[in-house]
């Protein structure tokens, strides 16, 4: 039997400590201790993409032209906190391409100017029509010959609720 030295199988098995793998003592500058500990604790720094520098390899000729993915939300919604979706019912706006069951994107932050398609609250109900302002008065115009224009009078309870920016129509 040999004497002295390491005994086989003694001590805590490797990989049972804090780091779940075998460890090794090294020398590091005192000033770097905190940094290194942080590096270990966070399992390596998570670098933001722009901070990394490619130093090797051939750059892809397309690199300069990458623009990011197309985001439909960004395209359709300019003012997220003021944008709501509503569903169209009926045929009153059929000529402007708004069908029964379509989803309308409505931006409440836009000014309802002449010619815009708007959502209006008339007598407690929400309706979609084209806003028509002229010297003869303000009208909510349907885009279907079977419907009558609605004249906004002084005593009407009409509130413009928002401006329609897009129609989502399933085909």
């Amino acid at each position: 039997m040999t004497r002295g030295g390491a005994r086989l199988g003694a001590g805590r098995p490797k990989g049972q400590g804090k780091y779940k793998e075998s460890t090794k003592p090294i020398r590091i500058p005192k000033s770097m201790i905190q940094e290194v500990l942080k590096y270990i604790e966070t399992n390596g720094y998570h670098l933001p993409l722009y901070a990394s520098v490619v130093q090797a390899g051939f750059p892809s000729p397309a690199d300069d032209y990458i623009e990011g993915e197309l985001d439909l939300n960004k395209h359709l919604i300019k003012h997220p906190t003021a944008t709501f979706f509503v569903r169209s019912a009926g045929q009153s706006m059929i000529k402007s391409g708004i069908h029964h069951g379509d989803i309308l994107v409505v931006d409440r932050s836009l000014e309802p100017i002449h010619g815009k398609i708007v959502i209006a609250a008339i007598d407690g109900q929400l309706t979609v029509k084209r806003l028509h302002k002229s010297s003869k008065g303000t009208y909510l115009m349907p885009e279907n010959d079977e419907y009558e224009p609605i004249k906004i009078e002084e005593n009407n309870e009409v509130v413009i609720w928002g401006v329609v920016t897009n129609v989502l129509h399933e085909v």
């Binding site: 906190t81 979706f85 509503v86 007598d123 407690g124 109900q125």
Partner: protein, 420 residues
């Protein structure tokens, strides 16, 4: 001089309902608490009818029907979305470090740097933008301290057309405080109100002119601070939001339950929700607390209430572990023969999920974390409970009563408002 503004939504829940249902404008509306129990929000018209806050619905049902009061269950998905829109809109008008979201319908703004002469107009603009963008009317009170801005806000609500009230002038402060009953002050509890009155202090002005040290000795340092705030010395700054230190999910059942199994299902469902919140704020929990109780309002039935806590070896956010533990605790406190109306689960002693302390006997399996993350992503993108635990059951007779729920106009494609 410090400068604060409090922006508060007018009758928030009722106003939300009106945005998508303009027919309700000018009509009395009330909103009920969970399980359609009590009145928790009223429109001005409902207040004028004399319906008290907190009134049990069943007591006033006939009266409401007779007076054509529109009644709604709380639609928290909808109100929560509207609240977020308002707070995000605010953060576009003021740097985020100067904004404190105080509750679902209130926010404090810190305005120290503002050119003072334009402040009133600026506040008017903020108010009008929020109204136009979201449809929700608000009131804004401006003053040198948070406590005074609360008073200014009350004035803006009651006494002005434009919804903005500037309370920077000290003569004006004095005038208003001389009429303000002590109980209506922000931070004065019912008990303190009584105590102050017994000391001969019945208005805000009287409190302001009391020796703060005397109040600190006889009441509390909190009331002392209120005195300074009333004097215009700011003691309360904006509070920064930090991740919650505990998460509680509890609801009363739609019907009373006496069997163990449906209670287990309800508890498991609350556990699932609590774990989702836990992972959302990137935390793990060390402790779990489970309680079960009968209805304290059914005095003729035998009463029982019990709770139990457990501390994990390692912080966890694993739904399976938490449900298993919760059910085990429930079994220990459950007794046959009672009509239970509520159970709940609290996760406490939360730590950041990055903070991983090793443990000698237990090894954490990173695959579990990934499983949880995957389930969260699926349920977020495909709808709540697309994947659910068998422990939650499938029948759900115990689910909350919400018979008068309005559509989830802003969070569900199937429930969008119709325009004709």
């Amino acid at each position: 001089m410090t400068l604060f503004a409090l922006i508060d939504c007018n009758n928030f829940y009722a106003s939300c309902e009106r945005v998508f249902n303009p027919d309700l404008i000018g009509k009395p509306i009330i909103v009920l608490s969970n399980n359609d129990g009590c009145v928790i929000a009223r429109s001005n018209e409902a207040k004028a009818l004399g319906i008290p806050m907190g009134a049990p619905y069943y007591q006033h049902k006939t009266f409401m029907e007779k007076n054509n009061v529109k009644v709604f269950s709380s639609n928290y998905q909808f109100y929560g979305d509207m609240s977020q829109r308002i707070m995000r809109s605010l953060s576009m008008m003021i740097p985020s470090q100067d904004l404190e979201v105080y509750s679902i319908d209130e926010a404090f703004l810190r305005l120290d740097g503002f050119a003072t002469q334009d402040l009133f107009n600026w506040a008017l603009q903020v108010r009008n933008k929020i109204l136009q963008w979201t449809g929700i009317p608000t009131s804004i009170g401006i003053a040198p301290t948070k406590t005074l801005s609360k008073i200014a806000n009350q004035m803006a609500k009651k006494n002005t057309q434009d919804g903005v009230f500037d309370l920077r002038d000290s003569d004006l402060q004095e005038h208003i405080m001389s009429d303000l009953p002590i109980e209506e002050l922000w931070g004065i509890s019912h008990n303190w109100g009584k105590k102050l009155r017994s000391l001969g202090i019945s208005t805000a002005l009287q409190l302001r002119d009391t020796d703060p040290k005397f109040i600190q000795k006889n009441l509390s340092v909190v009331v002392e601070r209120i005195i300074y705030e009333l004097q215009g010395l700011s003691c309360l700054n904006l509070e920064k939001q930090s991740p919650k230190k505990s998460i509680m999910t509890s609801k009363s059942f739609g019907i009373s339950l006496n069997e163990l199994e449906p209670i287990e299902q309800a508890l498991s469902t609350y556990g699932v929700r609590a774990c989702e919140k836990l992972r959302q704020q990137k935390s793990k929990t060390k402790g779990i607390y489970v309680f079960l109780q009968t209805s304290p309002f059914r005095e003729n039935q035998s009463q029982y209430r019990n709770s139990l806590t457990f501390v994990f070896d390692l912080p966890t956010s694993d739904t399976a572990v938490i449900i298993r533990t919760a059910k085990r605790l429930l079994k220990q406190i459950y007794k046959n023969g009672y009509h239970y109306n509520k159970c709940g689960i609290m996760l406490f002693d939360l730590v950041s999920e990055d903070y991983q302390q090793g443990h000698f006997f237990t090894i954490q399996d990173p695959l579990r974390d990934r499983l949880m993350a995957t389930i969260d992503i699926i349920n977020k993108s495909m709808g709540p409970e697309t994947i659910f635990y068998a422990a939650q059951g499938v029948k759900h007779d115990w689910k909350m009563r919400r018979n008068k729920l309005s559509p989830r106009y802003t969070t569900n494609w199937e429930e969008l408002v119709k325009v004709y």
